[in-house]
């Protein structure tokens, strides 16, 4: 063996090949089956993708680095289930490009935070966390309520995700911007079409409080209120 290596280390391309082979095996064994084994992810029939408004909120959640302090993955441990709810299922993030499971809980897990707090609470909390939770160490995000939401690229975003396998129909893609407005304006014109496209389990209301303006605050709250509510699978007894 030593003799073999003695010769190998005289050939640079031999080392290169050896390193590539040795370093590929582990990844191939662990990752490749995840794409072929059907049981890895059982997508429930009622799983819906995020609405355009929620998707915009998710992109803001990513932009502000929320995932660095909040996980979205409840582990199958008793105390986590008692604290946060049913453990997270693989299917719940099946449409998440990228997943936001997180790695650190400086703040609590958010996988099932949807509809646990009111919209008003979220709006006050995001503007100044210490206004509602005096001991909080979360940064304040006052610019969310002041910044109009950019809905101009939502159609392109949905189209890109559709190419990656997320079920956004051509109709959903074409109406993305209108649907973002409609979800935050319950009395607006596009409400019926929106519900037809995304179902009646989706919340339609002025999340940020002001139906006259569509801001980043509306999008973030709509996203937070959707967490853990994209499918009923974890809550229905099997």
């Amino acid at each position: 063996m030593l003799r073999l290596h003695y010769n190998l280390e005289r050939i640079s391309m031999g080392l290169v090949a050896g390193i590539i082979v040795a370093a590929s095996i582990g990844g191939l064994v662990e990752i490749a089956p995840l794409f072929t084994i059907d049981e890895t992810v059982e997508v429930p029939a009622d799983l819906r993708p995020h609405t355009p408004l929620e998707l915009a909120g998710r992109e803001i959640y990513i932009r502000e680095g929320c995932y660095a302090c909040h996980s979205q993955m409840i582990r199958s441990l008793a105390d986590e289930i008692d604290r946060y709810g049913h453990y997270s299922l693989a299917s719940e993030s099946a449409y998440d490009h990228p997943m936001l499971w997180g790695s650190k809980r400086t703040g609590p897990d958010l996988a099932r935070v949807g509809e646990k707090y009111s919209d008003v609470w979220h709006a006050a909390h995001l503007v100044n966390p210490r206004a509602v939770v005096p001991a909080s160490i979360m940064p304040a995000y006052p610019w969310l309520a002041a910044t109009p939401l950019d809905i101009s690229t939502l159609s392109a975003q949905l189209a890109t995700l559709a190419r990656l396998g997320v079920p956004y129909s051509p109709e959903r893609i074409a109406n993305a911007a209108a649907d973002a407005l409609a979800q935050a304006r319950p009395d607006g014109a596009g409400g019926a079409g929106f519900v037809a496209r995304y179902g009646d389990r989706v919340a339609v209301r002025p999340f940020g409080g002001d139906p006259a303006r569509l801001t980043e605050m509306d999008a973030v709250i709509a996203y937070l209120q959707s967490l853990g509510r994209l499918t009923t699978a974890p809550y229905v007894p099997q």
Binding site: S12, S88, D96, T106, R130, T160
Partner: protein, 543 residues
């Protein structure tokens, strides 16, 4: 730096810089979103500045003759300066974000200074800016010495260093403008990722071409590690960053992987960034600079073979230990845990080999702070790999995961191992590159050493306490079978540890600033007695 290039090389360099400027102009013209336009403008400005300085010196005297009989160390010198600039900037950001966890109200209410945007500036800045520049700079030095040959050409080392730093600058400015892929330690956007692949291929080609010119029959151990670093980081970077841009005129993209597959790919990448960026590369550094400084040969050649292939083979399996008890299939978690424990064998073989090399040189460890940096690095390498294997065991992980224990573990590796070996290498290299036998301020090395040790210990011990406290509070039940503590109570319990961690980080940063000033003074000082024996082996006489 330009004076060391021949006229012909200056012309090639001019073409490259014009290419970078045109790339920047195209990005600037095509961009419909903010970050990409700013990044295009950055590339354009860089290209123009470099092109002007090259044009200005096109007719300056040619590079001095007989270059083939000398090593090419200017890129290494430049890379070490960048290492320290990134180190000071990124560690300052680290101390600042640590302070924000204790004083959350201290954040100015501007998006760009928000904690969530600054944190990846810290992680990218220290890992890629500080660590990456140190790896590239030292690898070019070690490659030439262990091959007894000059670098294969004089332009590509500059392309690699400047191109790599353009990537780092794009990445961190992107985060400040709100552009991120959110994948931890791979946050840079799609065009920056593609650019890094181009730079990385140039780096690999330069490495292999120089190896092909070597005048030593055998490739030294340090180069195996640097090669593994270059090759596997390329593989990880490409697979983890495959993404579909929403538009080629904007920074936004969506990764092709989703959900559980994305999690597995991300942590396969994430842990192997630790393995091949923060471990393999720095082991290459250790395997060269520790024996050189101690003036002792590596203790066991056989052990270095076993540990090298052990690390290359085992590490790739362990990423799934980041996903214990999650929705990842159980068998993948178990494989990750098993290999994590087995990984301790090659890890400790490397650490033990390094420490045993110091046999017969312990008096030098006592007297020479530079060698002591490298000794402590090897000890922390051993300790943090032990801790890593321990934390990967499923029941232990159920307590430690999501807590500050992980943060403490990472910093025992990055401060105790990675930064210490970088400082040891810098204090060995900089006097040599400046044509001197010592640093300008030898006593400052001693101060730096103790500041680093104190900072690391305060940081790591406070994070251990923080993490274990958090983990226990989350899982404690009261007599009635309810959870004993609210999440907020666990946040409030962290305050003293977050303050201590900030102090530890500030001490470490002070040491780094001292190092940067010392290096600056040494590089500006008058050369005293250059090393005449430090020359490549020439097969034919130089002209």
């Amino acid at each position: 730096m330009i004076a060391s290039l021949s006229i012909n090389e200056r012309q090639v360099g001019l073409m490259l810089t014009i290419g970078v400027a045109i790339l920047g102009l195209i990005m600037l013209g095509a961009a419909k979103e903010g970050p990409m336009a700013v990044h295009g403008a950055m590339a354009l400005a860089l290209g123009i500045v470099l092109a002007f300085s090259l044009v200005g010196s096109l007719f300056d005297p040619d590079a001095p003759g007989g270059r083939a009989a000398r090593y090419y160390d200017e890129p290494t010198r430049f890379g070490l300066m960048l290492t320290l600039i990134w180190g000071v900037v990124a560690m300052s950001v680290g101390v600042w974000v640590a302070a924000l966890l204790y004083w959350p109200e201290a954040t100015p209410l501007w998006p760009a200074t928000s904690f969530g945007r600054l944190r990846p500036v810290h992680t990218t800045g220290v890992i890629f800016g500080f660590g990456g520049n140190a790896l590239i700079a030292t690898s070019l030095h070690v490659l030439q010495r262990t091959s007894r040959a000059r670098l294969a050409d004089s332009v590509s080392p500059w392309f690699v260093l400047i191109g790599y730093n353009l990537f780092c600058a794009w990445a961190v400015t992107g985060y400040l403008m709100g552009s991120t892929q959110s994948k931890e330690y791979a946050e840079a956007e799609w065009y920056a990722d593609i650019w890094l692949v181009v730079v990385w291929v140039a780096y690999l080609v330069l490495y292999l071409r120089t190896l092909a010119r070597r005048n030593e029959p055998h490739i030294y151990v340090a180069n195996w590690y640097y090669l593994a670093f270059i090759l596997v980081v390329a593989m990880l970077h490409i697979v983890n960053n495959i993404a579909l841009p929403v538009s080629f005129a904007g920074a936004r993209s969506f990764p092709v992987w989703s959900g559980v597959q994305d999690a597995m790919v991300q942590w396969w990448y994430g842990h192997n960034a630790v393995a091949f960026f923060l471990t393999a590369g720095f082991l290459g550094m250790l395997y060269y600079f520790l024996p050189v400084r101690a003036e002792r040969p590596i203790w066991s050649y056989r052990l270095s073979i076993v540990s090298f292939w052990g690390i290359v083979f085992f590490y790739v399996w362990v990423g799934s230990h980041h996903l214990h008890y999650t929705a990842l299939p159980y068998w993948v978690q178990t494989l990750g845990m098993t290999f994590s424990v087995m990984l301790l064998v090659p890890s400790w073989a490397s650490a033990g080999n390094a420490i045993a090399t110091l046999n017969g040189a312990w008096h030098k460890v006592r007297d020479d702070a530079t060698l002591r940096f490298m000794f402590v690095a090897a000890v922390f390498y051993g300790l943090s790999t032990f801790e890593g294997s321990f934390l990967a065991i499923r029941p232990v992980n159920s307590l430690s995961h999501y807590t500050d224990w992980t943060v403490g573990h990472v910093h025992s590796g990055t401060l105790g191992w990675v930064a210490m070996i970088i400082f040891g290498a810098i204090y060995t290299l900089v006097p040599q590159l400046s044509g001197r036998t010592t640093m300008a301020w030898p006593k400052a090395i001693e101060w730096h050493f103790w500041l680093s040790i104190a900072g690391t210990l305060i940081y790591v011990v406070s994070m251990w306490n923080a993490g274990i406290t958090q983990g226990l509070m989350w899982r404690t039940y009261d007599a009635n079978g309810g959870l004993a503590y609210s999440f907020l109570e666990s946040v409030m319990a962290m305050a003293p540890y977050y303050l201590l961690r900030t102090i530890g980080g500030a001490l470490f940063l002070t040491g780094t600033v001292l190092c940067a000033l010392n290096v600056r003074a040494t590089m500006l000082a008058t050369p005293v007695g250059a090393g005449a024996s430090d020359r490549p082996l020439l097969t034919q006489p130089a002209e």
